[in-house]
Symmetry: none
Subunit: 216 residues, 2 copies
């Protein structure tokens, strides 16, 4: 009678992991989300079973009041690899690309996010933008993605850059040619933008894209 079913064991495992990794037990709905159970009652059934079989204790009407019965607690000391704060970079998200924006305005900071330096190599002079449009879809940059841009006025041929073209910031491949600069979309249905070399000023280049992030 003490045997657990597969689902019950999964439930118990999840609770155990939650306590170990987060420091506090999950709610019914958190368990349900992990297990793919839409109903809190479905989860409750599992908890009642675990309680009845002696693997778990609960207190009525309290959130997260789950306690594993001692003999089933695994005491595995997690290493908790510590990372120093010096590995962090603060990135200011300035706005949307291809949206006609005053990029340098301090007030325009939409958000500030922090990521590991490992992810945005290129030092401290990096800012973030939100992408609008499908012009770089074949380079794996979709509408809605965040891009991390290292501020620099020059770029290598073939880099993905953010450029200010006619008061609008856009993301494109950068191809300097003999008489003009070609800003090439990564989308077969879109034409490149050509800027005459004489019209091209370095200040048009806002920076080089060093990272892409997409939330799903």
């Amino acid at each position: 009678m003490q045997g657990l079913t597969k689902r019950q064991e999964q439930t118990l495992d999840f609770i155990r992991r939650s306590i170990e990794e987060r420091g506090y037990p999950p709610t019914l709905r958190e368990i349900g989300e992990y297990m793919g159970i839409r109903s809190t009652n479905g989860v409750n059934d599992h908890l009642r079973a675990l309680e009845r079989k002696g693997y778990l204790r609960r207190e009525d009407m309290k959130s997260r009041a789950l306690k594993l019965v001692e003999k089933f607690v695994e005491d595995a000391a997690p290493p908790a690899a510590k990372v120093s704060d010096e590995d962090l970079v603060e990135v200011r998200v300035l706005g949307r690309v291809a949206a006609g924006l005053p990029l340098y305005a301090e007030e325009n900071v939409v958000d500030t996010i922090r990521v590991d330096r490992m992810l945005v190599r290129g030092g401290r002079d990096v800012f973030g933008l939100r992408v609008s449009g499908d012009s770089m879809i074949e380079a794996g940059i979709l509408s809605g993605d965040y891009i991390f841009v290292k501020r620099q006025a020059t770029a290598e041929r073939g880099d993905i850059v953010v450029a200010l073209i006619g008061d609008e910031a856009t993301v494109k491949y950068y191809f300097p040619e003999r008489d003009y600069v070609r800003f090439q979309p990564a989308n077969a249905q879109m034409a490149p933008i050509l800027v005459r070399a004489t019209d091209f000023k370095a200040t048009m280049l806002l920076g080089k894209v060093v990272g892409v992030y997409r939330r799903l």
Copy 2:
């Protein structure tokens, strides 16, 4: 500067004891009752102070989501002045997808990176993987990208998931059909992988992809 006041220390002690003795952290009102504070906001002030000084971590809008910062559980070394960590999530990068890997092996942690919670909504149960291959190229996931995976044993139709198929972890779209589960690549040149429903076990689903990162 970083020292605790008498009340703050009492608060911290109570939280510590609550976790040790009951197995889960207290609510604001439980703390208030013990401390003789009638107002949840009074308690909140203490918690904010403890958080700011680095003794405690909290998650927004969650009940009992208190966690003692580990190094203060035992020794009382003063905390290094740090920017508030409350918005950060630690993600363990476990290895490469499509590379035949023992995913759960503790030794397999390739790296630990920290990103803002904003970027990986889905809580703490998220791990990272490095992508190999072009099977999801049309979904904007390229070879070499990092993906962030929320651990869960089920998924919705159309989700991008990480699944264990024949000892290999792969990233695919998830389409459950009547008699089988279809794992669909986002690449017109690749065929879907079909798994008979009778062969399909929930443990094959490692999680759902909640984020993509690419370093350029």
